[in-house]
C-alpha cells in the first residue's frame, strides 16, 4: 500500500479510493496508540454513514476508540477476518487490517481529508 496515495482523517482513519468505492482503515499511529487490541466492532453492510459518524469501535485492554466515517456513503463490505481476531489490524493496518469498504455518495468529501504530509504533521502535533 502506497501511503502517499491515501487520504487521511484527523481522527486517524485512512481512505483508499477506487472509482466511487472507498476502503477505510485506521492508521498505524492509531493502532500503536491503542496498544493491546482485543476486539473490533464493525457496522453491518447496508448501513448509511454521514461524514464523522461513528461506525465502529476498536477496543484495547484498557480503552475503546471510535472509528469515524471519513466520507459519506453506504457500507458495502466489512473485513471478515476481524472481530475477536485483531491480529491483522495490529500487524498490517494499511493492508489485511482494513475495516470497511463503502460506496461513496459524495466524492467531494475527499477534499476535506489530509494528504500524507499533512497527516504526519497532524500526528506530530498530537504526540506533543
Amino acid at each position: 500500500m502506497d501511503l502517499a496515495a491515501l487520504k487521511y482523517a484527523k481522527t486517524h482513519e485512512w481512505v483508499a479510493i477506487e472509482g466511487d468505492v472507498a476502503t477505510v482503515g485506521i492508521t498505524d499511529f492509531a493502532v500503536q496508540l491503542l496498544s493491546d487490541l482485543v476486539y473490533i466492532d464493525l457496522p453491518k453492510p447496508g448501513k448509511a454513514l454521514k461524514v464523522g459518524e461513528s461506525c465502529g469501535e476498536v477496543e484495547s485492554v484498557k480503552a475503546v476508540s471510535d472509528v469515524y466515517a471519513p466520507l459519506a456513503g453506504v457500507v458495502t463490505e466489512t473485513n471478515p477476518n476481524l472481530g475477536d481476531n485483531t491480529e491483522p489490524l495490529s500487524s498490517d493496518p494499511f493492508g489485511n487490517g482494513w475495516l470497511i469498504k463503502m460506496k461513496v455518495s459524495d466524492l467531494s468529501g475527499l477534499d476535506q481529508l489530509l494528504d500524507r504530509a499533512s497527516y504526519e504533521k497532524h500526528c506530530e502535533s498530537e504526540a506533543h
Partner: protein, 451 residues
C-alpha cells in the same frame, strides 16, 4: 489518620490543608437558604448499654419467618439456608458490603464470583453469566436493554403474560421515556400466556420477548413454543426464572432462551425485609460484549499460576463513558457470595431434592385447600411448581390479615399489584407458596385456619 473521629484539631488540620478557615467558609458556595441552620433533629446520645437496650427493644417488635410460618410467595421465598452459608460468608476476608475495588488483589473474592458464574451457567443452561446485578426486576430490564443492543432493534418489547408486576413496572420505568413500545400479552384461561396473541405481537422491530417461568401465578409456561415464535422474527427470548425450580424443570437455555435472568434470593439469602437480594443474568456467548455488569475471567499470572481478573472492562462506564453497556458496573458481591456457598453446598442432588419437596408439598397444600367449601385453586389443570393462586370466599386482604393473627403468613393478594392483562377481578385472589421448609402439620394448620 483515624476515620472514626473528627476532633477540633483534626478538623482544623483538614481545613488549613484545603486553605480555608472554617466549615462555613468551605460551604459558602452553597446558597444560605439551602444550608441547614440548626442541628439535626436527633434524640440525645446514648451510652453503649442504653443503646443496646434500646435496639433490643426495637428488635423484639420485629417478627420474621423464624417465629412465624411463611407461605408467602410473589418473588421472595422462605427456603432453607444451610449453616455453612453464614459461616463462610461471615468470615472477615469476605464480609464486606463493599465490592473490593482493587479486585485483582482480592483473589479469594474473585474466585468465588468465578465459581458463581460457572454454577449459574450450569443452572440456567447458558454459556456466560455476569457476577450478579442488584435484584430480579433490574435484571429483567437490563436483559431487555441488552436485547435491544444486540438486535439493534428499539421499536418494541413484548411481555408474555404473567411477569411479576413489579418487574413490569421496573421495565416500564427503564424504557418509559424512550420510543420503545411495551406490549403486554394477556394471560389465557389456563394461566399461561395466550400464544396466539403473542404470535401476533412479535414483529420485525421486536427486540425481546420477556417471559417468566414459573410465571407470577405459579404456572409453567411452554418455553419451547414461545422460543419458536420469538426466533421466527429474530427476536431474543428473555426468561426470568426461579433458580430453585431448575432442580426439576428443563433449563431455559435448553429450551431456546437467549438471556436468562432470575431473582437469586432463594439461593441462601434471608427474606430480610425485602432486600438486599441478588440479580442473576446469564446469556449466550455471542452477547458477551453487550452484557451489563462485572465479569470475572480466569487467566495465568506471570509465574504461570492460575488467577482471576475482571474481564472485558472496556464495556463499562469507567472506560466507555456514555457508551457503556449499562450504568451498572458493580455487583451484589456479598449476596452473590451467599448464592455461591449455597449452590456449592446443595449441589445438583440437593437442588433436585429441594425442588421435589417444594413441588410435592405445594401440591398437597393445593389439594387440601381446593377441598374447602368456597375455595378454588385457579388454573388447577396447569402444571405448577411451588406456588399457586387461591380464589377465596372473601376479600384476599381480609383473609391474609385473619390468618396472620394466628402467626401464619400467606399472600400476597393479587390486588396489591398492578393488574396483569387477562386477570380481571382479583379482589378475592391471593398467592400461596410452599417451600421445602413447610411441614405437613403446618400445611394442615393453614387449611384449618382457612375454614
Amino acid at each position: 489518620m483515624s476515620y472514626l473521629f473528627a476532633t477540633a484539631t483534626e478538623e482544623q488540620a483538614m481545613l488549613s490543608r484545603i486553605g480555608v478557615d472554617s466549615i462555613d467558609q468551605l460551604l459558602q458556595q452553597i446558597p444560605k437558604p439551602l444550608q441547614l441552620d440548626k442541628l439535626l433533629d436527633l434524640p440525645p446520645a446514648l451510652s453503649e448499654m442504653e443503646l443496646e437496650q434500646h435496639l433490643r427493644q426495637l428488635a423484639s417488635q420485629s417478627s420474621g419467618s423464624t417465629s412465624r410460618t411463611c407461605f408467602q410467595g410473589g418473588g421472595a421465598y422462605d427456603h432453607y439456608i444451610p449453616s455453612v452459608v453464614d459461616e463462610i460468608t461471615g468470615r472477615g476476608e469476605y464480609y464486606t458490603a463493599y465490592t473490593p475495588y482493587q479486585a485483582e488483589a482480592s483473589q479469594g473474592t474473585l474466585q468465588a464470583f468465578f465459581e458463581y458464574q460457572t454454577m449459574i451457567c450450569q443452572l440456567t443452561g447458558m454459556q456466560v453469566s455476569n457476577a450478579s446485578l442488584y435484584e430480579g426486576g433490574g435484571s429483567v430490564s437490563e436483559a431487555t436493554l441488552m436485547a435491544m443492543r444486540t438486535t439493534g432493534r428499539t421499536g418494541r418489547v413484548v411481555i408474555a403474560g404473567a411477569l411479576h408486576p413489579e418487574y413490569t413496572q421496573v421495565l416500564r420505568t427503564y424504557v418509559g421515556h424512550t420510543s420503545t413500545e411495551v406490549i403486554h400479552i394477556p394471560v389465557g384461561s389456563d394461566g399461561t400466556v395466550d400464544l396466539t396473541k403473542l404470535a401476533g405481537a412479535i414483529d420485525e422491530n421486536t427486540a425481546a420477548v420477556i417471559v417468566q417461568n414459573p410465571n407470577f401465578l405459579g404456572n409453567i409456561e411452554d418455553l419451547a413454543a414461545i422460543a419458536d415464535l420469538t426466533h421466527a422474527k429474530e427476536s431474543l427470548m428473555v426468561v426470568s426464572t426461579d433458580p430453585i425450580s431448575q432442580g426439576l424443570l428443563a433449563r431455559p437455555g435448553d429450551l431456546g432462551a437467549d438471556i436468562v435472568v432470575a431473582e437469586g434470593q432463594s439461593l441462601g439469602i434471608p427474606l430480610q425485609f425485602g432486600g438486599p437480594y441478588l440479580g442473576i443474568l446469564a446469556c449466550r456467548n455471542d452477547f458477551i460484549r453487550r452484557m451489563p455488569g462485572r465479569l470475572i475471567g480466569e487467566t495465568i499470572d506471570r509465574t504461570g499460576g492460575r488467577c482471576f481478573v475482571l474481564s472485558l472492562q472496556a464495556r463499562e462506564q469507567h472506560i466507555r463513558r456514555d457508551k457503556a453497556t449499562s450504568n451498572i458496573c458493580t455487583n451484589q458481591g456479598l449476596m452473590a457470595l451467599r448464592a455461591t456457598m449455597f449452590m456449592a453446598q446443595m449441589g445438583p442432588q440437593g437442588f433436585r431434592e429441594t425442588a421435589e419437596l417444594c413441588l410435592q408439598k405445594a401440591h398437597y397444600a393445593a389439594t387440601q385447600i381446593a377441598a374447602l367449601p368456597g375455595y378454588t385453586i385457579l388454573f388447577s389443570e396447569t402444571p405448577k411448581f411451588k406456588e399457586f393462586v387461591i380464589q377465596a370466599p372473601q376479600s384476599a386482604q381480609t383473609l391474609i390479615e385473619k390468618v396472620a393473627k394466628a402467626g401464619v403468613d400467606i399472600g400476597p393478594a393479587l390486588s396489591q399489584f398492578a393488574p396483569i392483562p387477562g386477570m380481571a377481578d382479583t379482589e378475592n385472589l391471593l398467592l400461596v407458596a410452599v417451600t421445602e421448609q413447610r411441614t405437613k402439620a403446618q400445611i394442615d394448620h393453614l387449611v384449618n385456619l382457612l375454614k
